[in-house]
Symmetry: none
Subunit: 230 residues, 2 copies
DNA sequence: GCGGTCGATGAAGGGGTCGTCAAGATCCGA
DNA sequence: TCGGATCTTGACGACCCCTTCATCGACCGC
């Protein structure tokens, strides 16, 4: 949250648009329009994330990313108009943390930005979510309850993280699917039921009458922390 | 939740379908069938979201979005039959918040609508409705009265939310059905009676002589808050 | 007061939602 | 490539809720 982000794209209109969305999400944004300026800005301000167009004048996104990787730890998301697999692999080979192909929806870009920020957060303590005796360590992908380690599959972890991050908030199955697997993922809502059931077996004292992972009939699920039984 | 949404599509059948789904989700929908009407409607009512077809007579979706962006803050989702890159980039360049390509699944459209509404909601706490000691928390899907939690079924929750949102306003049974469940929902008006009765049992001190959920003979029901006994 | 209309209430049915299990599909590492 | 873990789906039953119906009482105009 509230990260410093560099946006580099020679399409000034697009850069301004991306800036708008990122700022709306509470981030501080600097925009530049060529690779050289991007590199200079990164060296000066060390942003939390750089969103780089691949095709830019002076220095292209690949080059910038290459130098950044050699010099430090700035996470990178590529914007690319190309869709061939070669380009994508090349982008990731240079150490980009993610890429978004144009045309993209603001929603998709924002989701990937937040995901990368979560993954690369400098302060390890910031990536730990607590709710009562339940602790979720995003970085280590670890769940512990009352000191006891709880093994979770990737899908279970994502669903649980979303629920625990906002205790008592009711999530529809659709929204849980989105939060856990992204927007383009199409699975039946029934899948969520199964994951929740498996989580209950690992977390609940009596899985048959859940106290933490609670069903809200006709709406969805919520996580209830020990303190606030709401 | 419960947002005012404008749907503009010259395909009246499709517009009606979209309207149905949005209303079922609890939103208030206005449909128009050309760009000029869409623009006029936005200026008059300032909806929380505009769902615009790109290809429309008089004024197309691009034009409408362009003007809206220049004038204010109405979020826009495009419906587009086109899939070429140019059109999509153009859509984003004009500041659409998202786009959905036809043919689309209702589920996909709804997911994107909810996501945009979440992102653009001005006040995060706006999901709480108060009337006297009664509090309806949309996000937690929770009703509390004088601090005491009141368990509600989905139908009861929707009806109560509608009534409490507009204290002292009298709703006909038909209007309540529409507001709570959407236009396509066909249930006899007597159904409302039963829901109101069940609500009274949970909310009223003496359900036989209601003080909050009041019957207006020959018209319908209204919610009366403590302060304004009207 | 009287009749007709409207609303309150209880009970029954049918439909929808959820929990659970197991089998098939898919992913991933060895 | 193979094998195991994981994800997804479909089926089934249990349970809750919505809706409807029938009946009785309340209200209103006359």
């Amino acid at each position: 949250m509230n990260a410093r982000i560099l946006v580099a794209d020679d399409d000034r209109k697009l850069a301004a648009l991306v800036r708008t969305y990122l700022e709306r999400a509470g981030h501080q944004v600097v925009t530049v329009h060529d690779g050289q300026a991007a590199l200079a800005e990164c060296r000066r301000r060390q942003p939390d994330l750089a969103v780089l167009d691949i095709m830019m004048p002076v220095l292209d996104g690949h080059d910038v990313c290459h130098v950044l990787r050699a010099e430090g730890e700035v996470p990178v998301i590529f914007l690319t108009a190309r869709t061939t697999e070669d380009d994508l692999v090349l982008g990731l080979g240079l150490g980009a943390d993610d890429y978004v192909t144009k045309p993209f929806s603001p929603r998709e870009l924002m989701a990937r930005v937040e995901a990368v920020l979560r993954r690369t957060r400098p302060d390890p303590g910031a990536s730990v979510v607590r709710a009562g005796s339940l602790v979720i360590d995003e970085e280590r992908h670890l769940v512990t309850q009352a000191g006891r380690s709880v093994p979770c599959t990737p899908a279970e972890f994502r669903i649980l993280r979303e629920l625990v991050t906002h205790p008592s908030r009711v999530y529809s199955r659709q929204r849980l699917l989105e939060a856990a697997f992204g927007f383009d993922h199409d699975a039946l809502e029934r899948t969520v039921d199964v994951h929740v059931m498996n989580l209950r077996r690992k977390l609940e004292r009596d899985p048959a009458s859940p106290e933490r992972l609670v069903t809200v009939y006709g709406v969805g699920y919520k996580y209830v922390a020990e303190e606030q039984e709401g």
